[in-house]
Symmetry: C2
Subunit: 351 residues, 2 copies
């Protein structure tokens, strides 16, 4: 019998955090690509555009004028998917027709006054200011809402409709689907094994090493064993931290520095401004914040779509939507490629 | 207090088939769109291209020459994600690092010898031949494998790398993730309510009417109460049918006709060849096929990405990937728009 090699032999892997499986078929990278290629984006974003509603001093859709901010800037999304006061749909009349109330707020956070920078091109202190703003908004909205979802859609490929560096914050009166899955899995793991799932997972990855991308005094970046996106990563604190606001000043500085390194590697991989969606997950907040959430470990997920080059992405379509996620290179191969990349940004090295 | 209106007030809905929630925020349709627009595809596909590996008489990547087929044509995918003989990864050494064997086959099925047609432009008897081929391949691969996933990625936007009308069939030695969810939900519903979930669901939608798109003697098409994609539909037989091969000749003819109507409406919606991923789900097959699968009802899911026009799609990104699916119009509004569209294809009406 042939010996199993992950890079040659398809197999399935289990995601214990989100209770999902992925099909890993690394030999698929050999197939030629004849499908859609994405437009190559030229870096033609002006530093300041008075008509861009995210810029300092610009007028937004609701007529409000942005301040001349010089760091981060947080404001209410002018087209929020969640509003604080929607009435409830009332009781359902049938088990197959269940609807429930949803309330919340949606905010936008600009990372920097300039439109022509991205996080990896910002300085470590500037990134640190973003982290502080993430912690504050979690605290502020978490006082009222059980879930505060911070996420960044970067790049047109990820549905981002404005090139100005920014993220969004959607706080909701309910635990969203993915949060519910992570809650269930982490709670079950803790009760079965007596420690937080992601603490043990980070510990194991430090021992096994093959999926590590970056390590620092306080943080780890790795390609999870169960990654679905080609170059997906998981960013974890080494210490047991439940939520962003608990991070110490030293941990925040160290986070800013490891984020800059990770995002620089991402940009360097295909020498492009690497698109992704990323977001933070931490223990639920709101009125139950005081309960025991020790099974939670703070973490960020990075989901970048590119597979082969700056213009060829992985499509999560037919089989993935109807059956199961499928990936075309192993997480170990992805980690190895990311590890090998320089920590100096290709745009800065060129000068 | 304001009375609840689904089209004005955000709320969450439950998908009892796949155990997931969706956030419905219909007021979001009011926001302007400044993000990526997709390239408008001109219909410049030649009817026959000897270099297209899906065409009759063409040579494929492995050197095989396609027959001069004049109906459907089924062959092995030259770059299969699943192969019949992969060795097993062996037992896992830790609960957070679980991998399992995956075996299977991947096939490609051409719908028609011409590259410049799509299902809605084919005749009802030609579509009927596709349905027969789907039933046969389910029977053939289902003899060995527990899950036979038939799916079509249509359009470059859905990662389709070849314009020739075709679908794929991936049969696997395992029940994929989505199949497992549907298995769990349908089994639980049957044991609690004594009837198949989707039989009762179809029955309810016939009574409620507001989400119906098309009905025929043997089939229903509706926008499910829990749809996530803007114009997502569910295609259901009226009779309790567990798998494609069980369909009678009359039911197959009727299916061909309702598919043509649905796909014509889809193309008419934005006057474009409407992209989507679609696929069939039926009771598991393989060595356990003889067990009791009466809780299963055959169905097809259509997942089309377009939202506002032929070039503006819905992005399932940040919030959707990190937290929960979100939609920008209600399923009832989508059904109403689809219902109102003509059943004659805009390309055929123009002559
Ligand atoms: O097999 P194809 O058409 O080349 O590939 C397409 O469908 C597959 C199955 O959904 C996906 O895994 C690929 O990402 C997609 O590009
Ligand atoms: O709010 P934006 O940036 O306009 O919109 C983007 O992110 C949202 C949250 O992930 C998605 O629902 C939209 O489909 C996407 O285009």
């Amino acid at each position: 019998a042939t010996a199993f090699r992950a890079s040659e032999h398809q197999h399935i892997r289990y995601n214990p955090l989100q209770d999902e499986w992925v099909l890993v078929s690394a030999h698929r990278m050999k197939r030629p690509w004849q499908g859609q290629v994405e437009p190559l984006l030229l870096n033609t974003v002006p530093r300041h555009d008075p008509h861009n509603p995210l810029c300092p001093g610009a007028t937004r859709a609701n007529g409000e004028v942005n301040p001349h901010y010089d760091g981060t800037f947080l404001f209410d999304n002018d087209f929020p998917a969640l509003q604080p006061d929607a009435p409830s749909p009332g009781p359902s009349d049938h088990p197959l027709f269940q609807a429930e109330a949803a309330r919340g707020v949606c905010k936008v956070m600009c990372f920097h006054p300039w439109s022509d920078v991205t996080l990896p091109l910002m300085s470590v202190p500037e990134i640190r200011a973003v982290i502080d703003a993430w912690a504050s908004v979690t605290e502020e909205l978490g006082a009222q809402y059980p879930w505060v979802q911070i996420f960044e859609n970067k790049g047109a490929m990820m549905g981002c409709s404005n090139p100005h560096p920014h993220c969004q914050v959607w706080a909701s009166s309910f635990l969203p689907d993915v949060a519910q899955r992570e809650e269930r899995s982490q709670r079950a793991y803790q009760s079965q094994h007596g420690e937080p799932l992601l603490m043990e997972y980070g510990h194991q990855e430090l021992l096994r090493k093959e999926r590590l991308v970056l390590t620092s005094e306080h943080w780890l970046v790795l390609v999870p064993f169960w990654a679905v996106w080609p170059f997906q990563t998981l960013l974890l604190p080494r210490r047991h931290v439940r939520r962003l606001p608990e991070l110490t000043p030293t941990e925040r500085d160290d986070l800013a520095s490891i984020m800059k390194k990770l995002l620089t590697k991402y940009d360097n991989l295909f020498e492009t401004s690497f698109p992704y969606s990323m977001g933070w997950h931490g223990a639920p907040t709101g009125s139950e914040a005081g309960a025991n959430w020790d099974h939670w470990q703070l973490h960020a997920h990075y989901y970048p779509p590119l597979l082969r080059s700056a213009t060829v992405r992985k499509f999560m379509v037919g089989y993935e939507m109807l059956a199961q996620a499928q990936r075309d290179l192993t997480p170990e191969q992805a980690a190895e490629r990311l590890r090998a990349l320089p920590e100096v940004h290709y745009c800065l090295g060129q000068k």
